[in-house]
Amino acid sequence: MNAVTEAVRELSYAEALREAMDIALDRDPRVVLMGEDIGVYGGAFQVTGDLVHKYGTDRVMDTPISELGGAGVAVGAALTGLRPIFEFQFSDFATLAMEQIVNQAAKLRYMLGGAVSVPLVMRFPAGSGTGAAAQHSQSLEAWLAHVPGLKVVQPTTPEDAKGLLLAALDDPDPVMIFEHKILYKMKGPVPEGHYTTPIGTAAIRRTGRDLTIVASGIMVHKALEAAREMEADGIDAEVIDLRSVRPIDRDTILGSARKTGRLMIVHEAVKTLGIGAEISAMVAESDAFDYLDSPIIRLGGAECPIPYNPELEKAAVPQVPGILSAARDLAKGRV
């Protein structure tokens, strides 16, 4: 029998996010988009694009340059019946809105003894690699993941970008979506229509026997590249896309660590006190620790702000050669 080969529809990561918002705006009148220059401008990274033409300025709302106030309006709106999707122009600017995110959105349900919910979605264009330097390149997902009451996800493919955004909208609690700016143009297959990618689940992007690399955000792609290069050395790496920082998919990570006995964690955010530390501790505190043949390796951002010079900028975050050499050491037990 001849298999019918359907052309797989490809979208960019930004287009996939836009399609998710389009679907959400279309199916639920409570959904509103809010953010700076997300209307006719289309968003600083063209994620909202032309949605304003389809849905109008009442549903695709340009806010003033007021991150604290804008975030608070989104919190209040979520509390009282709307389903806002709030875009920070750059994730760095969330530092101006921490009050509303951390003190209000995250805590209102708990402080009020469960009497309310804050079904709020926030989007954070994050990460380095654009030459925008220290105040436009940070990876602050661990900051927010430290706060009970928030959920934090980091999609790494167009398919997951759409699926996690739609899952976030279905979620009754505040969900923070960290989108790596370098991924916006990346293309990949994206299913048509409405679907969700469950929050709290990691994805095994490559199965392997010799070692486990847990990566988040753009590092998933670097880890996969390193894993392909390792094949030449006869090293078979398993690559896990963390995907959800809070809640974290403990079972998938521990299961893989038990299987391979060697664990490396890679993220772009600063290494010290980062997500890698949490994952290492999680493994060390569990029975999976007994399965480890070698100490855990963490790779993360350098102990500095993101610099401007392109070579320095690369040096400030993990790159494929660094992942590769760390993996070789790990595979040989030479850590």
Binding site: R30, V32, D58, M61, T63, P64, S66, L68, G69, G70, A71, G72, V73, A74, V75, G76, A77, A78, L79, T80, G81, L82, P84, E99, Q100, N103, Q104, L108, R109, Y110, M111, L112, G113, G114, A115, V116, S117, P148, G149, K151, A167, D170, D171, P172, D173, T196, P198, I199
Partner: protein, 337 residues
């Protein structure tokens, strides 16, 4: 009716409300006063831990600002929010239970005085962050406008909050989007120890409304009728779709800022002056003078509220504590997929 009043000259409250409504308003003012005295007393007896911020002396502002609101209308409140909560119709037993940290409290003992809320009556909650409620109120007004509910949000905040960025961002957005929200500043002259003179560049906070192209008025916050007149007009304007307003109720807190206050920043004379302008007997006098109530009615109302408070405290004291095993409950909504 006293001499000198002709119908058109009657105080607003007398013109605008019937006797039952006025009686209920006076009763709420007594309830707030006695609730806070009861809370203070319970604190002294060790039944309440943490701290609290009493609004004794500010009761007219809380009650008069909520006169035009139904349970569908929202308020956002502040750390000094007991009065707002009572004014919006909360049950005093559940309020005391919250203060006592009990499972029957409004927040099941997780919030305490600084987070007291009653969403079923439209009270979206007190706030531990100065200025925290301002953008949230604007968000509630945005919901009302988009969902066409017709609800108005009254946003309470203090004079201290008007120097937070959140105040300016919130007023600007409310004006740009013409949202149904009324900003009610309870100017009690101080943010902790710092007077408005030392902290605020304008003389009256209502002047700041001009920067956001909305009406701003300053009224005597201890004059029930004056507050009701100003806020009712602002609520009507909001309901008509004409956008936000700022009303500044000038008032005074008799007690210290919180339990840690040593009162080093104001004089005894100043406090005594303001205590002589107690808003509750002033309102009672107004009602008696206009034949709404008799002195005996007023005495009955006051006595009845004392019984309500005693019952509320008993309810709270008899209620169960939360189970420590539930400490992490209600962080997330269990309805999540």
């Amino acid at each position: 009716m006293p001499d000198g009043y002709r119908d058109g000259n009657l105080p607003y409250a007398i013109r605008a409300y019937d006797a039952d409504t006025l009686r209920a308003a006076l009763r709420k003012m007594y309830l707030i006063r006695k609730f806070e005295e009861g809370a203070e007393n319970s604190y002294t007896r060790g039944l309440i831990h943490g701290t609290m911020h009493l609004s004794i002396g500010q009761e007219a502002s809380a009650v008069a600002s909520c006169m035009a609101l139904s349970d569908d209308d929202k308020i956002t409140s502040t750390h000094r929010g007991h009065g707002h909560c009572v004014a919006k119709g909360a049950d005093l037993g559940r309020m005391f239970a919250e203060f006592f940290g009990k499972e029957t409290g409004y927040c099941r003992g997780r919030g305490g005085s600084m987070h007291i809320a009653d969403p079923t009556k439209g009270n979206l909650g007190a706030n531990g962050i100065v200025g925290g409620g301002l953008p949230i109120a604007v968000g509630a007004a945005l919901s009302a406008k988009r969902l066409g509910t017709g609800a108005v949000t009254v946003c309470f905040f203090g004079d201290g909050a008007n120097n937070e960025g959140a105040f300016h961002e919130a007023l600007n957005m409310a004006a740009v989007w013409k949202l149904p929200v009324v900003f009610v500043c309870e100017n009690n002259k101080y943010g902790m120890s710092t007077s408005t003179e030392r902290s605020t560049a304008v003389k009256n906070i209502a002047e700041r409304a001009a920067a956001y192209a909305m009406p701003g008025v300053t009224v005597d916050g201890n004059d029930f009728s004056a507050v009701a007149e100003a806020v009712d007009a602002a609520v009507a304007r909001a309901r008509a779709g004409d956008g936000p307003s700022l009303v500044e109720n000038v008032t005074y807190r008799w007690r210290g800022h919180s339990k840690s206050d040593r009162n080093r920043y104001r004089t005894k004379e100043e406090i005594a002056d303001w205590m002589a302008r107690d808003p509750i007997p002033a309102f009672a006098r107004l009602l008696v003078d206009h034949g709404v109530l008799t002195d005996a009615d007023v005495a009955d109302i006051e006595a009845e509220t004392e019984q309500v408070i005693a019952d509320a405290i008993a309810f709270a004291a008899d209620s169960a504590d939360p189970d420590p095993a539930d400490v992490a409950r209600d962080v997330y909504n269990p309805a999540a997929a």
